[in-house]
Amino acid sequence: MPDYVLTATAAVEPSVDIGEMVLRETPLALASVAAFDHAEAAGQAGDRLARHLGQTLPGVQRFAGTGESLCFWTGDQQWFVTAPIAQEHVLAAQLSEALAEAAAVTDQTGGWVALDVEGPALTAVFERLVGFDVAAMQTGDALRATIEHIGCFVLCLSEDRHMRLFCARSFAEALHHALCVAMKTAAAQAGQVPG
């Protein structure tokens, strides 16, 4: 037993219910993958990543996978890969090994926070926050957005019902606050919360 125990902490309060909606942090292991030039030309990075994940890689502004194990497109030949938090210390190493020098792999578990918003009629929440057409978002979409000056990825896990946002951890409380304000407004407007 080590003399000192180091414990992980959540970025924001665990779960907030607002009207018929819930906002919570989903702890995830996360790593970035960016193909090196030499491997990109040969398509090696994508092939190896797809083989390792056992699925087709997502297209532009899309994600693949389910639940906590997702892979989403972040740029040309670039992806973010998430996994259950239990893999936080091994995810990057496993990816690195699987990609075998074809891509830069960087552990981003501590860098990004995933905030899940679930409930009915989420368009009313997100049309206050993002500039893109959130009503047109389909399950599997992964769009980059700036919310209150905070750079985010917005993943549509279920149309109008379940969104997952990723933001840099230092902004997590600020984004959490912005989400709460928008959710309260939408809930009040939809009559989900008595005045």
Partner: protein, 984 residues
């Protein structure tokens, strides 16, 4: 019966009476009323005082174009001045007050202005207050400012919340009158995403205000069926109380939605108003038309209003402005008002029509070929003087006069992209021309389709055409049989008779005479006319007045109105509160705050925080008994030098650089060499801009042949990353390297002081050697702590002490701080904030953003020799240019206070006895502090030939704060210049 002028009918809910006050008197209205309609119902005609002359004024319109009935609503911090009573929806408990009067609305002492109109003509500011010049600032301007304006602000912060957002649609329809509803029905049924917005709280436009437009089905039946159907369509968004106030580039529109203004008590989470940015693929402007007045002497008395407004009050709000009314018109529409009012039981005392061939629509006294030439009744209309066609003058008693000079299409939004409207003789008005905003079309009365039949068909047709452009096929809906009487009008703008004032712009008190004066004085361009007379300014933006002014100018110039042209139309269409533009971004929500991993822990310690860009960093950690921040900072700094301290340095930028060309890439961005840095080592690096000026500095650590972590200053973290991406993608795409920010991924703490190693040895897992031999100065390693948690350790020092920076994945950042405090207790470990961090680095002579301020080169910083001549790197060539390297240029030096006086940062440096002028300025102080170690104020600064002037006493001038001190030039390394401590 208090509502003396209320009649039967209307679109009111009479089961819901509402109490309100106006100037502290209590009244009652009904749900569905506006403040204006409710006041009229209660027999209140006098609602305000005019801007310049303080003339008694009443409501003039029934819509957002209202120039006269401007009141202050609500009380306390929610007090809102200059609100149009015509669009203020009545609610129970509404308090309204008149404005611009003293002591009361009926008796206003400033009404004296009205007796000296010749002093307040067009341009009176420019003429009256010319002499003496010295009086302008001290005498005239304060008096004018006091007299100017209408309502007053509460001077309290706005307690309401505002919101903003973005909407997307295929088709935005502006205005829910007959044209807008027909368009929405057409597009909605075709499945297009439609937004139908109307500024009114009730949709329907003139369908709510007219009788019998839809002769077979009836206005109400079709309106409610249509609204029900639209509400049932999931692809249609109905937005009431929503004003589209501006048309911007690429089909973007500004829309203000009023959520709670009509509520006595709103839900705490509801924003008062929401500002929507609407992205539309196509837009149809169905904003209708507004009636225009005719100018004649004393045409501004309370009780005189637009004929269409008189009719609207009767039909929609069941209010007669007075029991006895008269009409003055130049077109057939005026006669409809007489008919509608008679149907509501009013006595029509006269219909005065300027046309000799005026039609007669009902049994009322008709005076064809006649003109209203004057009126009587100071606080409310009592009678009108009519010049009959035979030349005789007739007095006619009446309490209300409806004036109709024809109808103007509301085309403002069609012109927000600088479109110029064209003149249409058929309706004697400007109409939207072909130069519309991209994707916009115009339908209904806004497009000169002046009958209900034309509007319905125009709206539906416009929707079909707009959707066809989007590849959507839409069918025309069945439209009801509708009124289709042709427009019959004889243009008539002002009555020539009489020497008194005939008002063109009610809101700005501009008369026909003012326009004539402007013309006489050479202000003939419409834009000059506007500025000189103020015609068309303020909340109504000339909706009623512009055309009248243009007509008078056209007459004087001998040109047709079309040639005179209009002024430029600009957003907003109606006033938008500044609070709505700010939205949620106010106070602490003005911008997001970034929190460090130890933020929560620091809060528990009672830390004082400071903003560093978006970050909040602990500035210092006061302890009980410390009454001044200096005591705290001195203690923290000394504790580091004596034992060990911990500071959160997560905010410094971290950039992961990977790839086979990573070393070559770093060699390019840093002016000093990196290619040969061994794995497991850090190096201090200096980045230059292309122009040779120092950009940023920091350490880069090499974890593998192809893997570096670059550290930047907190301030430049984003800028350096952007610069590096630019270099990678644009300057050297041939280098195979990938970058990503890991600033947030790692919680990083400086552990500094003679006991730093001992502290870290307690938490680092066995098997990792961090002894001086095993882990020398500038070493770096990936290791584990506390039983397997991955960490990175860097032996670098910003304080000059034996020091490390330790990083763990950020989820463990809070935990690591707590562990360091616990493990360090035996060493009296001291958390220190940015203030002590600054003291320590100044004592050591380390530069930061204060020194790398965009004006200094490597030579200035005393690091000229770092710029490698053996390789190419960004900025190397230009760092050798004139002005950056000369021997007598400024150099970074240390400064010690000679007599104990502070050396404020920003002070300028002079040779002893030199005149304190710019010509003798030799440099400046960039950073300063009190050194608890040296027990005196010290500073870092730049001074000419600094390297050759060690020991010289100079003068430190601080003219801004009025101080003067003397300082000795010393090495910038106040502490341990040989670096023995940090290598210990």
């Amino acid at each position: 019966m208090t509502q003396v002028n209320r009649v039967d009918g209307g679109r009111l809910d009479r089961t819901k009476p509402l109490n309100f006050t106006f100037d502290n008197r209590s009244y009652q209205g009904f749900e569905g009323d506006t403040l204006a309609s409710a006041l009229l119902a209660n027999g209140v005609r006098l609602m305000g005082r005019s801007f310049k002359y303080h003339r008694p004024r009443g409501v003039f319109t029934a819509g957002s174009e209202e120039p006269n009935a401007l009141v202050s609503l609500r009380e306390g911090a929610r007090h809102e001045p200059n609100t149009r009573a015509t669009v203020a929806e009545l609610f129970d408990g509404l308090t309204a007050k008149s404005q611009n009067r003293f002591p009361s609305l009926a008796l206003d002492l400033m009404g004296i202005n009205d007796f000296f109109p010749s002093f307040l003509t067009a341009g009176f500011y420019y003429k009256t207050f010319m002499w003496p010049a010295a009086f302008w600032e001290k005498v005239y301007e304060p008096i004018i400012r006091k007299a100017a304006g209408l309502g007053a602000l509460s001077m309290l912060p706005d307690p309401d919340a505002y919101d903003k957002g973005t909407l997307h649609c295929d088709l935005l329809i502006v205005g829910a009158g007959p044209a807008g509803l027909a368009a929405a029905l057409t597009a909605g049924r075709a499945g297009a995403r439609v937004i139908l917005a109307d500024e009114d709280f009730a949709m329907g436009g003139r369908l709510t205000m007219e009788a019998g437009l839809l002769s077979e089905i009836g206005n109400s039946a079709w309106l409610s069926a249509t609204l029900d159907e639209l509400a049932s369509l999931p692809n249609v968004r109905l937005m009431r109380r929503s004003t589209v106030y501006g048309a911007y580039d690429h089909g973007v529109y500004g829309l203000l939605e009023r959520n709670t203004d009509h509520l006595a008590r709103a839900h705490a989470d509801l924003p008062r108003q929401t500002l929507w940015r609407v992205y539309s693929k196509r837009a149809i402007l169905c904003s209708g038309a507004t009636e225009r007045p005719i100018a004649f002497e004393n045409n501004d008395r309370p009780g005189i209003m637009l004929a269409g407004a008189l009719r609207a009050y009767a039909n929609r709000w069941a209010v007669l402005a007075d029991q006895t009314v008269a009409i003055f018109t130049n077109n057939d529409d005026g006669h409809k008002t007489a008919v509608d009012l008679m149907a509501k039981g009013a006595t029509v005392a006269a219909v005065v029509d300027v046309r000799a061939d005026a039609p007669r629509l009902a049994d009322y006294p008709l005076y064809a070929g006649a003109q209203v030439v004057d009126t009587k009744g100071r606080l409310g209309l009592r009678s009108i003087s009519v010049r009959l066609s035979d030349g005789s003058l007739k007095q006619i008693d009446c309490g209300a006069l409806g004036v109709s000079g024809g109808w103007n299409p509301m085309l403002a939004l069609s012109c927000h992209q600088r479109g110029r409207p064209t003149w249409n003789d058929d309706i004697a008005a400007f109409v939207p021309a072909g130069t519309l905003p991209v994707g916009q079309s115009v339908a209904g009365a806004a497009n000169a389709q002046m009958t209900t039949h034309a509007a319905l068909n125009g709206g539906a047709g416009a929707a079909v055409a707009a959707l066809a452009e989007l590849g959507v096929t839409a069918g025309l809906p069945d439209l009801p049989v509708a009124e289709d009487a042709p427009v019959a009008i004889t243009p008539f703008w002002h009555v020539g008779e009489g020497k008194g004032r005939g008002w063109i712009d009610f809101q700005n008190d501009v008369t026909v005479k003012d326009v004539k004066l402007a013309h006489q004085e050479g202000f003939k361009s419409v834009e000059h006319l506007k500025r000189y007379t103020t015609l068309g300014m303020a909340t109504d933006q000339g909706k009623l007045s512009n055309l009248g002014g243009l007509a008078v100018m056209a007459e004087l110039s001998g040109k047709p109105i079309a040639e005179v042209g209009t002024t430029i139309f600009r957003p907003p269409y109606t006033p938008v509160p500044i609070g709505a533009f700010a939205g949620r971004h106010r106070d602490e929500d003005f911008r997001p705050t970034r929190r460090t991993p130890s933020h929560g822990w620091a809060q528990e310690q009672g830390a004082v925080f400071v903003e560093a860009g978006a970050w909040l960093r602990a500035q210092y950690f006061p302890r009980p008994g410390e009454t001044h921040w200096r005591q705290t900072v001195d203690r923290e700094a000394l504790a580091v030098r004596r034992s060990v301290g911990v500071c959160d340095v997560t905010t410094l930028g971290k950039i992961d650089v990977q790839g086979k060309d990573a070393a070559a890439f770093l060699n390019l961005i840093y002016c000093n060499g990196f290619a040969k840095l061994p794995v497991g080592k850090c190096r201090y690096g200096l980045m230059l801009r292309e122009d040779g000026i120092a950009m940023d500095d920091g350490t880069a650590a090499r974890f593998a042949e192809g893997h570096f972590v670059v550290t930047t200053t907190t301030a430049n973290a984003v800028g350096v990353y952007r610069h590096m991406e630019f270099v990678r993608q644009c300057l050297r795409p041939d280098l195979d390297v990938q970058l990503i920010s890991t600033t947030d991924a790692w919680a990083q703490y400086a552990v500094a002081g003679p006991n730093a190693r001992k502290l870290l040895q307690k938490i680092i897992d066995p098997g990792f050697d961090i002894s001086n031999e095993g882990f020398a100065f500038m070493a770096c390693a990936e290791l584990t702590i506390c039983g397997g948690i991955p960490a990175r350790l860097f032996r670098i020092s910003f304080s000059g002490e034996l020091a490390y920076e330790i990083a763990v994945p950020t989820r463990y950042g809070d935990g690591l701080m707590r562990v360091l405090m616990e493990a360090g207790a035996e060493f009296d470990v001291t958390p220190y904030g940015t203030e002590a961090l600054g003291v320590l680095r100044i004592e050591k002579g380390h530069g930061t953003a204060n020194e790398l301020n965009g004006q200094t080169s490597a030579a200035h910083l005393g690091m000229g020799r770092m710029v490698s001549t053996k390789k190419d790197s960004i900025g190397t060539v230009l760092s050798n240019r004139d002005g950056l390297t000369e021997a007598d240029g400024v150099r970074l030096v240390g400064l010690e206070s000679v007599d104990g006086a502070d050396l404020p940062a920003g002070s300028h440096l002079f040779a002893q006895g030199a005149e304190k002028t710019a010509a003798h300025d030799q440099g400046w102080i960039s950073s300063a502090c009190y050194s608890p170690h040296l027990e005196k104020p010290i500073a870092l600064g730049f001074i000419a030939r600094g390297q050759d002037r060690m020991g010289e006493i100079i003068e430190v001038a601080n003219p801004l704060q009025g101080g003067m001190a003397r300082a000795k030039i010393v090495s910038p390394h106040f502490i341990d210049p040989e670096g023995e401590r940090l290598r210990a």
